[in-house]
Amino acid sequence: VDSSTKEKGLDRWLESFARTSFLRSSDIAHDLKTPLNVAVLNLELLRMRVRRLTGDSEDEKLNEYCRSLELELRRMAKIFDTFFVLSTPPKGESAPEPVDVARIFAEAAGEAVLDSTVDGTALVRAHEARIRQAFSLLLEGASKLLVAEGRTVRGSSSDQCFTVTVSGKPADEDFEPTKIFKFYYTDADGNPDVSLAATRLIAETYGGELNATQESDKVSILLSLPLDQSK
């Protein structure tokens, strides 16, 4: 069996794998969250039990461990939603169509109450609902990372792609650009934040990218999506 036959076989299998995952994605996310829910319930019961056994006294360390466990369980729920819902096409929709992402970006920035600039129109082959979610998650994540003062939000097109750039000074002194796209990223206040990891996954689904650059005290987060070249 030559390598091209093997590749074709793998492609067919991947297509079937993707189709199955897509058809069951929403149910899988739901089912995976059931054991997480049981864990959260039992964690609370454990906390209640210990409080009772210790004569209603609060133990700060125990509370801290419980809070941390609960945060991680909730993070996992968000990860499941990202992988099984946000990174798959919306239910009931057909193949991606050219959509004006410049308009969607302007609307998302308006909803996030962020001043932004955007040029003209930019057609990207995608599902509108998912692109809207990607922009919304990007703006949510970037707004927490970069201080409001001096922050700029801009959408622009080149021949090849539409790029959203959010630039500004990082809120956290120990800002590390490689960490912010990880599903285990936790912000300076100790809260799990998967918004940029989810944005990146959606962007990549439609052939795009999400990156960050840092120059002295200025950070830029860039989301680019390839323009539809069919016309």
Binding site: S26, A29, H30, D31, K33, T34, P35, L36, N37, V38, A39, V40, L41, N42, E44, L45, M48, L73, R74, A77, D81, V85, L86
Partner: protein
């Protein structure tokens, strides 16, 4: 003591939920299908029903419809593991008191139950 009916087909979920609401001072009762949930509603007429959206013999919305048609004073809280809130919004339109997503935010659920209790006491 207020009676809370929990309708969820996952035993670990309903048992955990029952223990938590019992700790909060409510009297829980468990069922796991639309059919057994409806039977429990007609038998107990609970103050509150916490109903999972996805049940083995149908949707929690079906049970919500039946409860609201026959026992409008029974408050229903919908429990959902779905990421989107479309079905939860549908539930609110049919008359659900509120909805909670999995993993359940327990302080929020406690506030919902307390609000229901206060409303029913008026």
């Amino acid at each position: 003591m207020k009676r809370v009916l929990i309708v969820d087909d996952d035993r670990a979920t309903s048992a955990g939920m029952a223990d938590v609401v019992e700790e909060w001072g409510y009297e829980p009762e468990l069922t796991d299908t639309v059919k057994s949930g409806w039977a429990a509603v007609t038998r107990l007429v609970p103050d509150v029903a916490i109903v999972d959206l996805k049940l083995p013999d149908g949707s929690g919305l079906d049970l919500l419809h039946r409860i609201k048609e026959t026992y409008p004073d029974v408050s229903v809280v919908i429990l959902t593991g779905h990421a989107t809130v479309d079905s939860a919004v549908k539930a609110l339109k049919v008359g659900a008191e509120d909805y909670v997503t999995k993993p359940v935010d327990l302080p929020r659920l406690q506030v919902i139950l307390k609000t229901v209790e206060d409303k029913q006491a008026m």
